[in-house]
Symmetry: C2
């Protein structure tokens, strides 16, 4: 079964990927804009708008919006990222028409009432407070700022108390038109879905949507790097270590994914084996590719005792440098097998599959088949990884964040000195 | 397609649930014992043992165990709960034999080396530290103790620093034999799996496993209730409010699930609408059925501003009392639809499906078809919910936990007074 892609006259793309035998359907309507398109004064507005549209839309009250979906056993959700805002419905077979109508109301016809906005600001401020209280959440805000500085990627997706409080219904309404413009809108459905029905429903909701002039484009980003550390009275120290890498559209993308997999993806990875199995330093140790369309980074997260933070940082530096120097054939093969299996297994869950397809269209203009992805992964050589390794280390820049008691705070410094052989 | 169940001569149960069209297989080997079977001195040992078996087993080193699975694109994982310890492999089609062999080594032939144990204790102590640092994790330890007192359910699954440090290789080896005894062992596979192959492989690994005399049974639990509050300098106050309910084997079980769904399951639930949509008090507000085989509770979790904690507690008490008094027909129908859809969608993911089947066998001795579950859910009436509501409120007992600044700490008291109409 192959996914089919259609583009409406106004640029809205519609992708259908039926999965035989399924009794449910997943629908994602994804706007290819988000926090990366916000100027400093609008920080957090994409996320706030995503909340606000649920307060009333298309003549439906907040309660009606969810009751009409949940009465049929469906689930309605939404998520805001740096480059995407996604609205999702999971429903039993036959629930596509209703799901499409409700998401259409949310995206195109939100009420944006002033009293609702005042209340919803309180909810978002609680979400910000919750993220600040969770060390393994807050540490990523810290490193994001260290890595990307004044660029929108350096600001939290949720915004700040001040920027959230500054939003007005009219300002959010203007932002909505730009954010959900048809040139970056994708309608994606998987599971128990018929392509002809999907296209008709997508045309009904989005066929009349007019392009807007001057829809925002993100400024180019520069990985500035730097150290961010904060003391907090915690049982553990939390570390994130980042190096500049490549964007999802670059040739090195799959090399980066494989590098992250071999470094700290599974339990057989270098960091898991060295830091957890051999030294018993950490429970959580993880490496990941943090990529956007045109930029990206390699990241490592670890939680450990504050007194062990310097040793942990040194281990991370050594393992990154070692892998940048050389990868064994068996290790490369294993990382490729892991990466392919992850991509494969993600396709077994309808919602994850519809989101994956929408993401590929936004990045590459078309969906990729599993076979195409496998070919791209298999094509990566040990020499490609060495070249990527040189790129990771070549700028001499790193971004580090440490959160914990005072004993941990030098870990960022230790990491940089060990990685770049500085005295 | 129907799942097939076989019982080996020694009592090990084998369940096979093929899913046509899938390219992957999920294997769960579940021991129906866990932290609820631990006396105070052994607190956390089921979890520590689950960690330790990965350090070496059946002649394989820690590295070999994960490399052999991950080289084929597989994933190996494990989880320890109060009533279950589960070992899981997800693999590409054809990976069942290897997965079964590796899990067999972990369960039956772990090395349990003393030097490895010393290192793994450090890892588990980091896991304990991480849980203590996460407010929305730690709050559940607090309420568990308030609800269940000296019973094993009142102790954390991870144990304490002292009980983890007290474990020796020999003591863990003895505990292993009791914990993974054949009378409570289930082998469950879904996805790309053949029933005949599965049964042969299960027989190869577990057919020769001897029953052990005096395998532990958990003591009966009593919901004692009480208040647990701790000050911590946080942006948010975290609340968990619990009432005694019923176990998964009791007739009221589906009534409890529906009650939790209507109270705080989805976005159309009473708590979401009242506390978040109408009052803007919380970002996270959630109700859940926390059930074990023979006992269980209704729980509500909320995060809010410390100054709003008393209002939040009062809202929760009012909504619980209101729902216990009366549920509207449309609301009951919606909660049923939601519950059925959740159970249905969980079956679309192979690993979640194999775990669900193993759990049903441990609780009820056989798997339930989706149709049977739907019948059980549909049979619940408004009168059943009123009777459950009387049971929830009838004991006059509640367990509450509050974590946050001083302004929040009275929330538990406010909840009890409002719920039980105490002056």
């Amino acid at each position: 079964m192959t996914a089919t892609l259609h583009t409406l006259d106004n640029g809205v793309r519609v992708i259908c990927d039926p999965m035989p035998g399924l009794e449910t359907v997943a629908l994602s309507v994804v706007a290819g804009r988000g926090a990366i398109h916000e100027d400093p004064a609008r920080s957090g507005w994409s996320h706030l708008l995503e909340h606000m549209v649920f307060k009333g839309a298309g003549g439906r009250s907040a309660r009606d919006i969810v009751e009409v979906i949940e009465s049929e056993g469906g689930q309605l959700n939404a998520a805001t990222g740096y480059e995407r805002t996604s609205f999702q419905v999971r429903a039993l077979k036959g629930g596509l028409d209703l799901g499409m109508a409700v998401i259409g109301d949310l995206l195109l016809r939100p009420t944006l009432d002033a009293a609702d906005l005042a209340r919803e600001k309180s909810v978002v401020l609680q979400e910000i407070a919750e993220a600040a209280d969770a060390p393994d959440d807050y540490i990523f805000d810290l490193v994001q700022t260290a890595a990307w500085g004044d660029h929108p990627l350096g600001r939290p997706i949720l915004g700040t108390i001040d920027t959230v409080n500054a939003a007005t219904p009219q300002a959010l309404s203007d932002w909505r038109a730009a954010l959900y413009a048809p040139d970056r809108l994708v309608v994606s459905a998987t599971g128990a879905v018929d392509p002809v029905e999907l296209l008709a429903l997508a045309r009904r909701e989005y066929g009349g949507l007019a392009a807007i002039a001057g829809a925002p484009a993100p400024p180019p980003a520069l990985f500035v790097g730097g150290r961010s550390s904060q003391t907090r009275k915690l049982e553990q120290a939390h570390l994130v270590l980042m190096l500049p890498a490549c964007g999802a559209r670059e040739d090195d993308y799959f090399s980066l994914r494989i590098f992250a997999e071999a470094l700290g993806g599974g339990m057989s990875s270098r960091l898991f084996q060295e830091a957890r199995e051999k030294r018993g330093l950490a429970y959580n140790i993880d490496a990941y590719a943090d990529t956007y369309a045109n930029e990206g980074a390699l990241g490592v997260y670890a939680g450990c005792a504050a007194g062990d933070a310097a040793e942990m940082a040194k281990v991370c530096a050594e393992q990154i440098a070692g892998l940048a120097d050389r990868i064994e054939d068996a290790e490369l093969a294993r990382a490729k097998a892991q990466l392919k299996a992850h991509m494969f297994m993600a396709r077994e869950q309808p919602l994850s599959r519809s989101e994956q397809a929408a993401g590929q269209i936004l990045l590459f203009g078309r969906p990729y088949t599993p076979a195409e992805l496998a070919v791209a992964v298999d094509a990566v050589t040990a020499a490609d990884l060495v070249r990527l390794g040189q790129r990771l280390l070549g700028s001499g820049r790193a971004a580090t964040a440490v959160l914990g008691t005072k004993a941990a705070l030098k870990a960022g410094d230790v990491f940089e000195r060990a990685l770049f052989n500085r005295p």
